[in-house]
């Protein structure tokens, strides 16, 4: 049964890892080494938005697996809990910006687009940094 529990956590972790790769990689590639064409940016916005959604859902997945197997949620406190809250806020912010981009970027200037991508990069980097604190302070 431990194998099944570990497999569930692993599946969730795989989704979480690829979500993290999508949100940071997609955002960075939109601007570096050069700002991408508008059509490519739109595809990247879909990727990054989906990545943030996967991050949020897989984050909840960790809790769901714990609750399913033990009837309890993970027990974290202090710095780890603060890091988790930061990650949740980043996911909310990142997903929102990606949705705004997909719905309204057609009327944005290049500078507004650049600012949106810069904010997405900042949120992704913040979330990944918080993840390290969550991992080692829990």
């Amino acid at each position: 049964m431990i194998a099944l529990e570990n497999l569930n956590y692993t599946v969730v972790q795989v989704a979480h890892n690829f979500g993290a790769a999508a949100i940071v990689g997609g955002s960075v590639f939109a601007l570096y080494p050069a700002m991408q064409a508008v059509a490519v940016q739109r595809k990247l916005a879909w990727l990054v938005g989906a990545g943030w959604a996967v991050q949020a859902l897989s984050g909840m997945g960790f809790a769901a697996v714990s609750y399913y197997f033990y009837g309890k949620l993970p027990d974290i406190h202090g710095i780890a809990l603060a890091a988790l809250l930061i990650k949740m806020l980043c996911a909310l912010g990142g997903f929102s910006i990606a949705v705004l981009y997909l719905r309204h970027a057609a009327g944005w200037t290049m500078e507004q687009r650049r600012a949106a991508w810069q904010r997405l990069i900042a949120l992704g980097v913040t979330a990944l940094t918080a993840a390290a604190f969550l991992r080692w302070f829990a």
Partner: protein
């Protein structure tokens, strides 16, 4: 999407196993003893030994229900406090890699006076 379905299938067909999971795990608090007395001027040393079993990974120490510290060492001592005057419950719970209590724990009450 297929991965998501596979995950759902695991949850649906895996079945809950809470009671059996903690079977081989154990926690022993050898000091302080139940009802031991201490002073509000000094820390309380908790001497413990944890056997995580197949499902556990490490342990969390709680004072009056609040998590005080993560115990990564499975055997040793941990100081808590100083604690305020009164009776305090000190518990050590075995948790898994995701920090979820697996149901194995030991508790002692300490009287600070």
């Amino acid at each position: 999407m297929r991965l998501f379905y596979a995950f759902l299938a695991l949850l649906v067909f895996g079945g809950p196993v809470p009671a059996a999971l903690a079977a081989d795990a154990s926690v022993t608090i050898s000091s302080p003893r139940e009802g031991a007395k201490s002073s509000p001027k000094r820390e309380v040393d908790i001497v413990y030994e944890v056997t995580p079993g197949p499902n556990g990974n490490h342990a969390h120490l709680y004072v009056d229900g609040g998590e005080a510290v993560v115990l990564r060492a499975l055997k040793g001592s941990q100081a808590v406090g100083p604690l305020a005057v009164g009776v305090h419950e000190i518990c050590i719970k075995v948790v898994n890699k995701a920090h979820t209590p697996i149901g194995t724990q030991a508790c002692v009450n300490v009287n600070i006076e």
